[in-house]
Symmetry: D2
């Protein structure tokens, strides 16, 4: 399904090479001031063409608000946001009509649906995230009014943590017709305690689902994450004094519910599967073929994942804020 | 919310020290043979008292089927499964009425609800997983009829991978009044391609949410997981020939949809927060106090998480199997 | 699906001749005092054996609370309520294993599931409503704290509106081995304006779905209902002055949202399909057969529908109250 | 919420005087041929300006498909359909900024949201149904491939059943600055047995909710509907022989599940609340004022409700068809 959230529910639509990509937001509280200027900056951080290290496609990705706003304020009605697709070159993709790109959804979509829009990945394209980012920007606006901020950053690319080394790794991967992966950390500060539900609606469960739902993400951890596997309980528990917690190994969530501390999330991003290097694959007829994925692809998707991850975390928190208020 | 799944929808209920813990399964196809013998073995693997290294509480955890079965078969009606609580000693927990245990949900529940069943963690107790395991056993029965198996194992405890060393780590933690964490790997074999949905309903997103919804889990990864952050695209992509994939870095999922390969999931389990070692915390009045968590606690919850993680993966797959069939 | 509601979500389970019938309530706010005495009276109004005009089955229908309550208050955890089935005589129903009762779900369940619990209708039995009534009683308790009341009454039975005539109609139908239908009106007073959502979540849409989901209900109307088909707009619109509305043709709902006036609902209840009179039907082998439905059936289900309809209206209002609060 | 359906899930958006009205369809099976020509005819039946008896607004209501289609076929991705608003005159509505129109959602929206798009009713406008009708047309296309048809007709307007008398009633209401109500009947033929679920997901419950969710509908009945209140069980039960049912008092649904007979639904439609006749109301400041609702309004909305009701019934059936297949 293409919807996410219970209370601040978004529905994503559109394909890479269709007319538009967009999102419907259902459940945004009425009376919030909202203009495209609240949304465009996050989209601008997501779009390609802003650095020599990202794709050279020059997409302006201008958001339009089609509904749900009256005289500059939300009305409680669904908010439709779209970005028109431009500068898409379908011919770049003709070879992909029959060949399955390694590491892509081509094979699995074909198996599931028996039909597949091969142009730029269609629905599995990174452009689909435009809707999420636009909706996330609306959530961030609302959260900021409650003093909540969400900030992501690159922790590591291809094993390197230093910005200069990261740049060098990406450049050399690009030259080699290859790509590299990395790790992003996202922190939400200012959250009230009480967000999230016990059992299946745990805040960390919602976050994990949201993050792993971003294409290219292969791992999610909260607080100390995988490092807990090497620790004693006495090291990992966060003691309290009368002012609160003395450490934050838990990453701001206890028993699935926010504690009021920073919420700390890390995600592992795989190397972009679209690479110029020749790879072996098969076509829809079962023949073994070679493929060199042309087009203008990011040698490292990590920088552009940052705003998407911020958006997804904002959407989860927004949803929990609205849930929370029900029981006050 | 206490429900999980869209098509094979389970609702969990009950507290550690209440009358029962249980689950309602809604959406189980009619006409499947089902008896308590299909369910009890997985519950037996979850229950404590089976090894010197787990809690010494001796809970029999006998499952009862209250509805949804007629003459040994499912009817399509909701299946209610309960386990009566026995051998619970509420007095063990009297100290916890006012003190917040470090690493537990005590503080966050109190903040969220303003009321809290302090006895054994109430709803946040590990006993809540009994419902999930019982429902997972029903899913496993169904999946097995389609040739799908789900198998979990301990990969690592407190940095050790060798079974004997693991046993030693747990024993020494127990003696020290402490606890240790670890990593569990769960593999589903025999899945057809096509399970999962693009975008928010990605199979890996559902799995990540399901796994992170198990108490004590702090990280989830699929396939190569966090290791992708150090790899080239040309290493990480799985090439194909006419018989299928030549490697499985992806962990059986591409674009959120199963590829037919093994689905490979790993989860990080934190050290049990209940430890005898004295820790600093606060009470509900804001006073700083010391706490030594008594009772009969597992020094390492990793072994008992294995069947819970198997159950959760089975529930996700079951749900996707029923979803899948709509588009055939 | 066997769940109802978004925020105060109930899941019904159990069959007429199984071990129990029951309900799980998920989403009840924490901190509300709740005992079985809050629930039993509404169940008592629903149960048979209380009048010579209802079924002579003597079911005590004692409710038990299995979870979600701690020291007399709700904790925010799921509340499990069950009633054990007693005084059920499965042998009464042996003939129905193969014959489809006219007016019953026997044929359609068989077609849908290929298997059917024929004993007393199994899941389609009126006993299934016990869960709804128990959950409705919890909702009524909450609503009463906000000054909202829900009251049902019989408007008409077999064309008669006078209580004495109604009694006579039912008695004579019973003697004739037949049954009669009627109309029930349910009024909710004290509702705040603003309950319900535009478009698909209209309060009247939710009510209509809830009421038509009661077995035997064949029609639902709000306010003037079907009578609007003979009216002018100038008659049907409710004018306002500064104190509010001057009439209530709308039945308390405008544009799907409560106006603060009384919410007025009427439902049409069909004659009980189980009658002693001989009817023609077919069996599962396709043979034409005669059937006289024995057992102890109500010659008129209308009186026992009243508390069920009250419960369903209360559940809808409760759900909207919790939704409402999200946007305040 | 602005979504409807579980499996064929539609999300409606847009206001009367905004840029567009539209719908997202999520869950349409892949591989179905679909063009705007499959959708436009049902929209044309809904639009005004086609008869002297409907509103003289001349809206062309041209549907555009923005996503979900590839080379003329559905791909399984969300289908976005929009109609651009034209010929809307916002100035017609300036008086309504402060006055509450009797019989409209103006007062209740103001109470619920504290803000209200007064232009043409904004979200509560009849134009919102364009999205439902467009989605319904897609459902009808799918259903027709399974031999299912859905047909609506006017049964009665202002007490008259004869077409000529109906025309006269509408004309004279129009001249008097007034409006009239009526009854519509919708029949679905060719449905397989087994659609719908026991308990809360009964087919008739879904239909009742769908129909009552159409603005102006105040009553819904299935089969014999309210007439069952005057009948004996022996009259109302539908006997069977080996070929099926001998009558259809039930309206094609037994125990909430389709029987394979025609599904028969009737709805009561209130007189259009927008009338030129002077009425008393209040404004947002609490002053009593008079109002004459200008603009170009339908003196009887009954004819234009017919395609909307067909669409809603089609959406319910479509949803149940996709649900059904899970249990085969």
């Amino acid at each position: 399904m293409n919807s996410f959230g219970r209370n601040f529910r978004i529905t994503s639509f559109g394909e890479s090479h269709g007319a538009v990509v967009g999102v419907i937001i259902d459940g945004c509280p009425a009376g919030m001031k909202l203009t495209v200027q609240d949304i465009q900056p996050l989209l601008d951080r997501r779009r390609p063409g802003t650095s020599p290290l990202t794709s050279s496609r020059n997409e302006m990705d201008r958001v339009e608000m089609l509904s749900g706003i009256f005289e500059g304020q939300t009305t409680g009605a669904p908010i439709a946001l779209i970005v028109r697709n431009e500068n898409q070159n379908s011919k770049d993709y003709e070879e992909l009509r029959e060949k399955f790109r390694p590491g892509h959804a081509d094979f699995t979509y074909q198996e599931k649906y028996g039909i597949r829009d091969h142009r730029g990945g269609g629905r599995s394209s990174g452009r689909e995230t435009i809707g999420r980012v636009a909706a996330g920007a609306v959530a961030l606006k609302y959260l900021s009014e409650y003093g909540i901020t969400v900030t992501g950053k690159i922790l590591l690319v291809h094993g390197k943590t230093n910005p200069e080394e990261i740049e060098r790794e990406i450049s050399s991967a690009k030259e080699a017709g290859d790509s590299v992966g990395g790790i992003v950390e996202i922190i939400a500060a200012g959250c009230p305690p009480g967000l999230g539900d016990p059992v299946f609606g745990k805040l960390d469960a919602l976050i994990a689902g949201a993050m792993m739902g971003i294409g290219a993400v292969k791992g999610v951890e909260i607080g100390d994450g995988f490092a807990v596997s090497g620790k004693f309980g006495s090291e990992n528990n966060d003691p309290m004094n009368k002012d609160g917690f003395l450490s934050n190994h838990a990453g701001g969530i206890l028993g699935g519910i926010s504690s009021g501390q920073d919420i700390v999330v890390r995600i592992a991003v795989k190397p972009t599967p679209s690479i110029a290097k020749v790879q072996q694959t098969r076509d829809i007829h079962g023949n073994v073929v070679e493929i060199s994925v042309g087009g203008r692809h990011d040698p490292c998707i990590v920088p552009r994942i940052v705003p998407v991850a911020e958006a997804m975390l904002a959407l989860v928190l927004m949803d929990c804020m609205l849930e929370q208020v029900k029981y006050r």
